[in-house]
């Protein structure tokens, strides 16, 4: 059986989109694992129904594996789960109203579940995170310097890094890399050429835009929930 991952993020309380994705995935062949890479909550709409569904999936739902994202971090900060810190970055950038909207959008009974979520998953040689391995709020995009991407991969010691924070969908391969290192210390000189094997950073999108990853072939497919996917198939065969 083909093993595929469905990588979703940025639902921000949108249960309708989540149901649409679940419906899509039921039609997708293969053994599917569903990962939700954060931002399940947001300030725009009440998030309680979605959170309840993620925690208590319907009997025919794919089990979601969730990590926390930037908005979850903000509510945890604001609710005192990070010591004395509060969501000051959010407050400064978006204003007090957005902070209030966020805390009103999530019932307090869900906070312990959110607080127990992990920063990311490492599956096979892949890192699944919301932002980057340096910062949950870091946007990795096609324009991020490759040296930075390599560093973020190295920090997790993975060859594939799936990221959601930028909301963009992309698949950037670092096909080859080399650098010469010469170290002089009290014991002498040491030269070494370091090469990197093929690595990749994949932006999974947000909301209705999600990504399917074929674990066996290393192919990605960028999908829009509810869109007739037959027209967009690339290398996966008929869905």
């Amino acid at each position: 059986m083909i093993e595929r991952w469905a990588l979703v993020s940025g639902l921000k309380g949108d249960l309708d989109t989540y149901e649409l994705i679940q419906k899509d995935l039921k039609k997708t062949p293969g053994n599917i694992t569903l990962f939700v890479l954060g931002d399940m909550i947001g300030p725009e709409k009440n998030c309680n129904r979605l959170l309840h569904r993620l925690i208590n999936p319907n009997s025919n739902d794919l089990q979601p594996w969730c990590i926390y994202g930037w908005w979850e971090e903000q509510i945890l900060l604001e609710s005192g789960y990070r010591g004395d810190q509060r969501a000051e970055a959010l407050r400064i950038n978006k204003g007090e109203e957005v902070v209030k909207s966020l805390t009103n959008a999530v019932d307090k009974s869900f906070l312990n579940w959110i607080a127990a979520l992990q920063f990311g998953f490492v599956e096979l040689d892949c890192g699944l995170i919301h932002g980057s391995s340096k910062d949950i709020g870091e946007n990795l995009t096609l324009d991020t310097p490759p040296l930075t991407l390599l560093d973020r991969l190295a920090r997790l010691q993975v060859n594939r890094l799936f990221t959601a924070r930028s909301k963009e969908q992309f698949h950037l391969e670092l096909t080859e890399g080399t650098v010469n290192s010469e170290v002089e210390d009290l014991n002498g000189n040491f030269k070494k050429e370091q090469k990197v094997p093929q690595k990749a950073v994949i932006g999974i999108g947000a909301g209705k835009n999600y990504t399917l990853y074929d674990v066996g072939t290393d192919n990605t497919q960028f999908v829009q929930a509810g869109y007739k996917s037959e027209k967009r198939i690339k290398g996966f065969g008929m869905l």
Partner: protein
């Protein structure tokens, strides 16, 4: 013109005096200090006052930060619970000894100092607690220098002096799974950068007992590691007399390279 870079003085006054004398004998007046003025050693106030008196630009080290803000590193910094206990004891002893004026001085030290193409930090541009070891992944090391917009990064923290040149680098990238017009392949050339670790004046861990620092010629870009002998017995006696753990004197006297080194020195504590 030469500049001297010193780091990790660790309240070892005889070592600091000997190194400053060696710098003076070379006619160098431009000195930068990379922090950790205190910790482990028996003369924290004296060392701070000497650096202040000489008006040496200094950035804040991890010990300087911890003495002011309270310990913010977890037990990952130590190889054993016993070592952690000793570290905490030295932290408390140092905090008790320091005058308010000297604590204020440490509190107001900058995280980094920039002089043209040179950036001076204690650990790394990311954190005073991050170790840039000589065998660190070369791309990650290059990223630290490049993202800090420097050509030469001067650091300390490891107590092991080295000069690392990262050159002739390139990375090839390819955009996959995009519309044909957006599919691109390109090779990016990486700039040549250097990391210079000044070692430690007050607590060397390079396998010998001599204090180390570096001299950088700003015209030729040549960097030399200097080793300086100092009155080791004086410091060891002061450690014992101050009631600090005798192991601090023992490891100085023997120049043990790995004594009390963190098990995973590349780990960055997030606490």
């Amino acid at each position: 013109m030469n500049q001297a870079v010193i780091s990790c003085l660790h309240a070892n006054l005889p070592a600091v005096e000997a190194v400053l004398k060696d710098i003076e004998l070379q006619g160098i007046t431009n000195i930068t200090c990379l922090g950790d003025l205190v910790g482990y050693g028996p003369q924290p106030n004296e060392v701070i006052e000497l650096i202040r008196d000489k008006k040496i630009p200094t950035c804040q080290g991890c010990w300087d930060e911890d003495v002011v803000d309270g310990l913010d590193a977890c037990d990952c910094s130590y190889p054993s619970q016993l070592a952690e206990k000793r570290g905490h004891f030295a932290h408390q002893w140092t905090t008790d000894q320091l005058t308010k004026d000297n604590k204020d001085y440490l509190a107001n030290l900058p995280y980094s100092i920039r002089k043209d193409k040179c950036l001076f930090v204690h650990g790394s541009p990311n954190s005073q607690h991050e170790y840039l070891l000589p065998d660190m992944d070369a791309f990650a090391a290059l990223e630290r220098v490049e993202n800090a917009r420097a050509e030469i990064l001067f650091c300390g923290h490891t107590h092991q002096p080295y000069i690392r040149e990262l050159a002739d680098g390139s990375i090839a990238v390819k955009i996959k799974n995009a519309a044909p017009k957006d599919i691109q392949e390109k090779e990016i050339q990486l700039p040549m950068r250097r990391i210079v670790n000044a070692g430690s004046v007050g607590e060397p861990r390079h396998g010998g007992t001599k204090a180390t620092y570096v001299v950088h010629n700003e015209v030729t870009n040549e960097v030399k590691i200097r080793e300086v002998e100092y009155d080791l017995e004086l410091t060891c006696k002061a450690i014992i007399d101050a009631g600090l753990p005798p192991i601090f004197a023992w490891r100085l006297k023997n120049g043990f390279e790995f004594a009390e080194q963190a098990e995973d020195a590349s780990h960055v504590c997030e606490r």
